[in-house]
Amino acid sequence: MRVGRFLHDLMFAAAALGVLLVIPVIFPAPWLRDFIIYVIAYGLLAMSLNLLIGYTGLVSFGHAAFFGSGAYAFGILMQSGAVSIRVAFVLSVVFSAFMALVIGAICVRLKEIYFAFLTLAFQMLFHSIILTWVPLTGGDQGLMGGIPRPAFWGIDLRSGETFYVFCVVIFLVCLLLLRQITESPFGYTLRMIRDNPQRAMFLGVNVYRAKLTAFVLAGSIASVGGILMALFASGAYPEFAHWTRSGEAIFMIMLGGMQVFLGPLLGAVVLQGLNHFATVYTQHHGLVLGIIILVTVLGFRRGLADFAYEYFAGRRRARTPAAAPAAAADEPFVREESRA
């Protein structure tokens, strides 16, 4: 059953790979490729954050700290020239995971709103350190001087086309990983913690450790997004780790939907699309974006993907009234968990 699900996801990823590789062939415009890389980097940020917000119920306001730590660690390692790009990649993720472990160990004890504020505080502390530690990070100018792009296992990253392929592959690998996490027994433990932490505790789940694990995993995947962004922009900037980035990631999740796995990605496409195109056609892109968010909140009352999912689920239910009880989507999983 589980193997079948994995194969299903693998086929879906292969199909996505095909589509993403064909797009630049059909539409060779460089801006489209750049746009997709943007969506990939921020999509990873939003998707990994949704592991915390949507699946675990931890509203982190400091997730971009790990995006920034990945970008900075990678940039600094590459500029030092001491290690190969593969080692730099791995070390940056490990560094971010360690940072997430330390911050998470302090934060996940706290309740909802205090957790949000504390993650925000740590993120801004990290941001301040970047600004202050000028010799290492370049301060508010960012990590200047470019980041070298040597070959990654024989893949030439200097050419725009192969760099694009590289980003797409890394992105899909991360998504598959996230999917495996959310569909694993551990993923359902996280859902249970979100819905009823006390019950999880009574069933012998170490809630603290599960939350901390989710926090570290999410931070690591966010750092991959940061690394791709650093490679793409050929530098790292303090704004990567500013709280507004975390805010944007939350808006991507809210716009796209948090119950459907790919919802945050849809949000990333919509938000980045609005940012790119609204600035082209109007000076007042804040006005446009604000009104769209307003319609989402007051009109759909949930993310776009969630809305679509519930709409179609509702129609299916209307056609086959006998199947109605199956609609309580998350219930069976909790029961499944309690047997384990």
Partner: protein, 299 residues
């Protein structure tokens, strides 16, 4: 880091007085914004992410009022009362639709208004910097205390803020209205069942919170540069203030605001790059050691 410069400044009365008084002024503006934020959160359970934008609007309303009439009193009334009306309408039309909903939805709604209001300000008043200038009443030589100059306007602002803060505390803690508000914060259904018009009560509370932000903006207009987006930095600092002081505590907001104001001015001499770092460290410490804040009650 230049801690000797900081020590040197604190040792000279003139420098110390100047820095402390400008720190107090920053603290006062923060207190007014944060107490409104805290009040709205304490009673309605809504984190008004648009509160910084309200501060900005208050400043622009005051600016327009001042340009139109030339009277500073009218300017302050425009900023404060204008925002009170705006807040009441905002609560009725939008915030009231999302009570009890996911906290992220509230955040998103408020953020939408941050974007919209920033752009509306750009459309109406232009994207450039605006300066209101000091009203003639206060354009007089500063008062010297121990050799350090304190602008007369600062004394006026401190006086207004202390009066308003005291009045707010009195109304919430001592009057019948305040009692109703506190009851509604704990159990709105019960208060409604007792025949009190809770929608009106909520709109009033939201209006008072907005009035405080508008007042802060209006008072800040003569001494600050007006730009669209000026609300964002004060918003994040008022979050720090409410967290340190304790959500829902007016007195806590006062103490924490002055603390942050002083950190800002004294820090800009001693550790100019790490001022934010110190503020966020204080916030993190309070959250770890006493999540409910220095003067807050457990939520």
């Amino acid at each position: 880091m230049d801690l000797t410069a900081l020590a040197g400044c604190l040792a000279t009365p003139a420098c110390a007085i100047t820095q402390v008084s400008s720190g107090l002024i920053i603290g006062i503006f923060l207190f007014l914004v944060a107490s409104g934020l805290s009040l709205i959160f304490g009673v309605l359970g809504v984190i008004n992410f648009a509160h910084g934008a309200f501060y900005m609007l208050g400043a622009y309303f005051a600016y327009s009022g001042y340009l139109a009439t030339g009277s500073f009193l009218v300017a302050i009334l425009c900023g404060a009362l204008g925002m009170a009306v705006f807040g009441a309408i905002f609560e009725r039309l939008f915030i009231s639709r999302i009570y009890g909903r996911d906290i992220l939805m509230q955040l998103l709604l408020c953020y939408a208004f941050v974007l919209i209001l920033d752009d509306l300000v750009k459309i109406i008043w232009g994207a450039g910097y605006r300066n209101m200038g000091m009203p003639p009443t206060f354009a007089r030589p500063p008062v010297f205390v121990a050799g350090g100059p304190i602008p007369v306007y600062y004394l006026f602002v401190i006086g207004v803020a202390v009066t308003v803060g005291g009045a707010l505390w009195y109304v919430i803690a001592r009057t019948r209205f305040g009692k109703t508000v506190r009851a509604a914060a704990i159990n709105p259904q019960m208060v409604a069942a007792l025949g009190i018009n809770t929608p009106l009560l909520f709109a009033t509370v939201f209006a008072i919170g907005s009035l405080l932000a508008g007042l802060a903006g209006a008072l800040a207009a003569p001494v600050r540069t007006l730009t669209p987006g000026m609300g964002l930095s004060i918003l994040i600092e008022s979050f720090i203030v409410t967290v340190i002081g304790g959500m829902g505590s007016i007195f806590g907001a006062f103490v924490a605001a002055l603390l942050i104001g002083l950190t800002r001015t004294l820090g800009s001499i001693g550790f100019p790059l790490f001022v934010d770092g110190v503020m966020f460290t204080m916030m993190a410490l309070v959250l770890v050691l006493k999540p409910s804040g220095l003067f807050g009650r457990e939520v």
